[in-house]
């Protein structure tokens, strides 16, 4: 990947596109299956999908909502890239998001005397650390007690929800709500602790062109939407984690352990430490997802007793986005956006067409199934490609390097 000539780079880019083909096909396949369900419910699938597309990118606001939805998914997905590269299946994004949000909101509510940027910084840090430590439990149990991390993270998700319910009903409860019967929630964080909304001013030329295409908004793109700076943080994080994974010794060790635990151990790499670290980073990213939801969007943490009410399943969807992005943090950026659009668009479809929310859950499941299943085809391709990469077989090389003597018998 790093020693490539320009020619190789082009070939690799080309291969990447082909590697994503099975994923896109799987996406389409899931939607085709979903259209069967739609027809069964006497809904016109074409119209439904048009509504979906419209809901995802049809308007400035829709597009902004797509990105808003993508933010926590991207955070989680970036972390999942590290975990999976390190050979750890982290299903605990939901719980880690909650842990991050709890710590982050606590800091934001306590450190009110500090300047805004510092509150944000400390709050984000607290969120990262809390998520990291929480995931670290599962990492520790896997590294030292051989506890299957899939199971422990699922259990930890449940524990996180109950802890959130307990804290939001207790010490973190908004003092003005104490004694009332309102939904448990924290106080609102200070305005200066909130992540600013994000907008860009379009250059005249582009704006003109967009207007020509029927764009109705102002040149201040996203100004009247909920899009916030969490997006920029998430993208920065993706780049940093990309560098970490492929440019630093830390990432090298994590990947080495993920690919081959034994060889790493033999080479003197402390395997348990890498497992915990991978889980730690993954959890930290998920923790950031949680705290950014609070600082950028909800400005307080509240619970309806379930995890989903807060996380919107980003802890799971992040896994799918990571797979979609080829377990590469940079690939996770477009993957999360696509996934965010899918979810936001599906909601629109639900509103426009009266499709039940349950259908969207089912389709979500189909997308996961088709995505993981399509990996086999990607693997096959990769193998075939490896086979065709010249010159490869030892025999070819043999012939080139030392011409053997003629056989003698």
């Amino acid at each position: 990947m790093f020693f490539s000539s320009p020619n190789q780079t082009i070939r690799k880019a080309f291969n990447r596109i082909f590697d994503t083909t099975p994923l896109l096909i799987s996406l389409v396949a899931a939607l085709v299956v979903a259209s069967v369900l739609l027809i069964a419910m006497s809904t016109d699938p074409l119209q439904a999908y048009r509504s979906m597309l419209n809901g995802a990118v049809g308007t400035e606001n829709a597009f902004a909502e797509t990105l808003v939805k993508a933010i926590p998914i991207l955070f989680v997905a970036v972390g999942i890239c590290v975990a999976f590269r390190g050979g750890v299946i982290n299903i605990g994004g939901e719980g880690q998001m909650i842990a991050g949000a709890l710590a982050g909101v606590s800091v934001a509510l306590i450190a009110t005397s500090l300047p805004g940027p510092l509150i944000i910084l400390f709050s984000l840090t607290a969120g990262f650390v809390a998520g990291a430590l929480y995931a670290g439990i599962a990492g520790f149990l896997k590294a030292y007690f051989n506890v299957n991390e899939i199971l422990s993270t699922i259990m930890l998700n449940q524990i996180a929800v109950q802890s959130m319910n307990y804290l939001l009903n207790g010490v973190l409860l908004d003092p003005t709500e104490a004694g009332t019967n309102h939904i448990p929630k924290t106080a609102k964080i200070l305005a200066e602790a909130q992540l600013p909304r994000f907008s860009i001013t379009l250059p005249d030329a582009i704006y003109g062109a967009l207007q020509g295409l029927g764009f109705a908004g102002t040149p201040e793109l996203f100004a009247r939407t909920r899009l916030h700076y969490g997006m920029i943080i998430a993208i920065l994080l993706a780049v940093i984690i990309y560098m970490l994974l492929w440019r630093t010794t830390i990432g090298y060790r994590i990947r080495a352990v993920g690919e081959n635990e034994n060889a790493s151990r033999y080479a003197g790499i402390h395997v348990p430490r890498q497992i915990i670290l991978a889980m730690f980073i993954a959890g930290g990213c998920a923790g950031l997802a949680g705290v950014v939801q609070v600082l950028g969007l909800q400005y307080r943490l509240q619970t309806d007793g379930s995890a989903t009410g807060f996380t919107a399943n980003a802890g799971f969807n992040g896994i799918v986005a990571a797979l979609f992005g080829g377990l590469n943090p940079l690939g996770a950026i477009p993957a999360s956006a696509v996934f965010g659009g899918l979810l936001v668009g599906a909601q629109k479809m639900q509103r426009d067409m009266g499709v039940p929310a349950a259908l969207i859950t089912a389709v979500n499941g189909l997308i996961v199934i088709f995505t993981v299943s399509s990996q086999m085809f990607a693997r096959r391709r990769a193998r075939r490609r490896a086979a065709n990469e010249p010159p490869r077989s030892e025999r070819v090389l043999d012939a080139a390097v030392n011409t053997p003597m003629e056989q003698q018998t």
């Binding site: 939805k69 019967n181 007793g305 379930s306």
Partner: protein
């Protein structure tokens, strides 16, 4: 006397047929529609929106479309979303519940139910009809409407029969039917002959009451069909009482700033058998 129908959009957490919270609103909208006629009143309903952030997207979409006369966020978890959203669309009227807080905004109505009132009635009657002197209460999470109902229920029962034993179990979930059911079984095994409970996961508990010859008292919607012989009394929410007022206000050009409470007195809460 309008040409255009009155348009309402509603988002709610659970399903419209939950025999509880969401259904109470859905039924109320149907009632209003029957009253005003389908040509004059239409509504869009996005159910199953447990995810607060998804509700935010929906509310924003509706608000920015400019197509609706009233947008209802039916769930107290949607409050902070509305608090942010409403100021951005001052020309649109919003309503939300269950709460009394309009955030000082004059385009937000708030509504809630004095669930403790019907709870009190249910509790008193339950205590009087219990022979064993033990009553079981299944709650979801110890907050909001459910807590109000349960607190009212306990107060009513104690008032009617001070020595009544009330066993309460908040199972920690709005959806865990197996656990709620087993909680009901536990009460029965402990000698309870009257059960009550709030929220949509009580359906199994109702079946337990029926099977064991215990009595069931319900809240939010009528569960008489499910409860059969076991069902005694249901506190039913009639949001149409509130909706009528809100619609009238909007007709007069007043987009919010008011809060409403369903009570037994104003007919918003009705005890049904």
């Amino acid at each position: 006397a309008q040409d255009e129908p009155f348009r309402v959009a509603v988002v709610s957490p659970s399903a419209i047929n939950d025999l509880a919270f969401s259904q109470s609103m859905y039924d109320a909208l149907l009632t209003i529609q029957a009253e005003m006629g389908e040509a004059n009143f239409v509504f869009d309903f996005q159910e199953g929106t447990f995810v607060v952030d998804d509700a935010a997207v929906a509310l924003r979409d509706w608000a920015s479309s400019g197509n609706y006369d009233l947008i209802i966020a039916h769930g107290s978890q949607y409050g902070s979303v509305l608090e942010q959203l409403a100021p951005e669309f001052p020309e649109v009227s919003f309503a939300w519940g269950t709460d009394v807080n309009t955030f000082g905004l004059d385009n937000v109505f708030a509504y809630t139910a004095a669930a403790d009132q019907g709870g009190f009635v249910n509790g008193a009657l339950a205590a009087l009809s219990s022979e064993s002197g033990i009553i079981g209460v299944v709650g979801p999470v110890e907050v909001g409407d459910a807590k109000a109902y349960v607190d009212g229920f306990i107060a009513g029962a104690k008032a009617a029969k001070p020595d009544i034993e009330i066993q309460v179990n908040y199972i920690g979930s709005f959806s865990d039917v197996p656990l709620a059911t087993e909680a009901a079984n536990t009460f029965i095994a402990n000698g309870a002959d009257v059960l009550t409970g709030s929220a949509q996961m009580v359906v199994g508990a109702i079946a337990v009451a029926q099977e064991n010859g215990a009595k069931w008292f319900g809240t939010q919607s009528s569960q008489s069909e499910l409860a059969g012989d076991a069902g005694v009394l249901f506190q039913v929410y009639h949001w149409e009482v509130v909706l009528r007022d809100i619609i009238a206000s909007i007709g007069e050009g007043k987009l919010g700033g008011e809060s409403y409470i369903l009570t037994l007195e104003n007919g918003g809460l009705v005890m049904e058998t």
